[in-house]
Amino acid sequence: MRPKLLKSALGWLVVFVFFFPVLWMWLEALKTEPQAASSPPTIFFAPTLEEFQTVLSGDFPPYFINSAIASILSTFLVVALGLPAAYALAIRPVKRSRDVLFFFISTRFLPFAASLVPLYLLARDLHLLDNIFALALIYTTINLPLGVWLLRSFLLEIPHDLFEAARVDGAQFRHEILRIVVPLIAPGIAATSLICLIFSWNEFFYAVNFTSSEAATAPLFLVSFISGRGLFYAKLAAAATLASLPVLLAGWIAQKQLIRGLTMGAVK
């Protein structure tokens, strides 16, 4: 009994230290501005939702909506393009499948340095800078290799006989996909979507360089707090809380899919 208690205490201490910045963010968000910028820091206070209201009724919603458009659209495209590709690599493999797979995944880890400048120039010339759909296309590129790889790892787990049976039945390719594949890899699609949503929702580098006002996403709203707005700590914390909320909730709900997705399917 004693070692269990001791270990629990140690564990909770460590978890508290790691979770504390998140907790502090929430606490700051529930303060008034003078409380948030007080010295010494205010620990006990009457919580208020005032700053959340300020943020939500102010200029934050368009940023949030842009983030949602870019993340959802790119996730949809990743699944739509990635599922057939994963099928071609896992179930009815083309020649040199392994090389193709390697090619896909190597593009995920190409530094953005590789294509940044030409993409920027192209977007500029096509007047696609500060366009949320162009940003969604970039996020699709970032996530598609991971999506193909992950979906393939799920497809490999489906018994091969199922596809053979469908083919003998004379099922059309399209039917095969819809009737057999989609229901069986629903968990795979969920895991892939989760990872794509996380990466594109939190993405900052392309957002800061390819958008300015019209298409700016949630992380860019936070940038405006680094400079120019003075001491708005409570508002800052409220905005940071809201911006982080979708990914935090999704990751908490789908912890099992999270680990599989993060390791590209290697850890089940």
Binding site: W24, E28, V94, S244, L262
Partner: protein
């Protein structure tokens, strides 16, 4: 006869390739062609802010890369940041994973709270650290540390690299913990029990049984983690903006400065080419190891 057989075979091959094509063509167009253009631009001198400045420069850009102090500092900072973040977060992640794998109260809740730093938007996390935790006037940490004489330390400006590493370790420890925990959970508890019965102490069974088992998981976490940490940009942008001076400027941030603050397209492209070469070498090694560790079947 042979012709029809061949064309049937060809049709079959195309039927197989067809589902692959959209994704393949898309990824190819958006990553490979720009990369070729990056190589092309790297041989030119071109500043976007100076119309008409586009001229062939040969190897000038590369020459300045290899002689420039900024690049050397950026490479060093990238290496330092990656190695310290991965090293520290693997050790901490292993520790937390071992606690979570033993008999403790509230395991599920602990794990849930523990992964929060990884899920929080990196820009948001960095901002919270900088403005509400580390701020020398109103931050919580200087206040808590003031009895120890560290009350008025301006962490972001006095210890910029320590600050960036701390925030990144905070973010990546949960990632390592998740992967290592999965490894620990694949361990058969009876083996440990048997070792204990045979008189092995805790340290012996950790070194001889647990560590060899989780080693591939640690390697996987370290490899994937370093591919991400090498690209660290968000927290540097929010915390230090690469400064003071160039103290926390890594390669991605230098690229940002050259391309989007200096608008030197040619030089930025040359940095890009060099970064790609370095990353390709590292990533190829990493992926090959990954393939062999987890024996990912690519045959079927």
């Amino acid at each position: 006869m042979r012709a029809t057989a061949a064309s049937a075979l060809g049709r079959e091959a195309w039927a197989r390739r067809l589902p692959l094509l959209p994704a393949f063509v898309y990824v190819f167009l958006v990553t490979q062609i720009p990369f070729v253009l990056t190589i092309y631009y790297s041989f030119f001198s071109w500043n976007l802010l100076k119309p008409g400045s586009f001229r062939f420069a040969g190897l000038e850009n590369y020459g300045s890369i290899f002689t420039s102090e900024s690049i050397r500092i950026a490479v060093w900072n990238t290496v330092l940041l990656t190695i310290s973040v991965i090293g520290i977060s693997v050790v901490l992640g292993l520790g937390v994973a071992m606690i979570l794998n033993s008999e403790v109260f509230g395991k599920g809740l602990m794990r849930t709270l523990m992964i929060a730093p990884f899920l929080i938007m990196p820009t948001a996390g960095a901002l919270i650290w900088k403005d509400t935790l580390l701020n020398p006037l109103f931050g919580l940490l200087p206040y808590l540390l003031s009895p120890f004489g560290l009350g008025r330390v301006d962490w972001v400006n006095q210890y910029p690299m320590v600050t960036v590493v701390t925030v990144e370790v905070w973010r990546w420890t949960p990632f390592m913990m998740l992967i290592i925990l999965a490894g620990l959970q694949s361990q058969n508890p009876e083996v440990l029990e048997a070792a204990r019965v045979d008189g092995a102490n805790a340290i012996q069974s950790f070194r001889r049984i647990t560590l060899p088992l989780v080693r591939p998981f640690i390697e996987l976490g370290a490899l994937l983690g370093s591919l991400f940490v090498v690209q660290t940009f968000d927290s540097i942008f929010m915390l230090t903006f690469g400064g003071p001076g160039e103290d926390t400027t890594n390669i991605p941030f230098l690229l940002y400065l050259v391309a989007f603050q200096g608008f030197s397209i040619g030089e930025a492209s040359a940095i890009g080419v060099v970064a790609v070469i370095i990353t390709t070498i590292v990533a190829t090694l990493a992926l090959r190891t990954l393939f062999s560790i987890f024996q990912i079947e690519a045959r079927r």
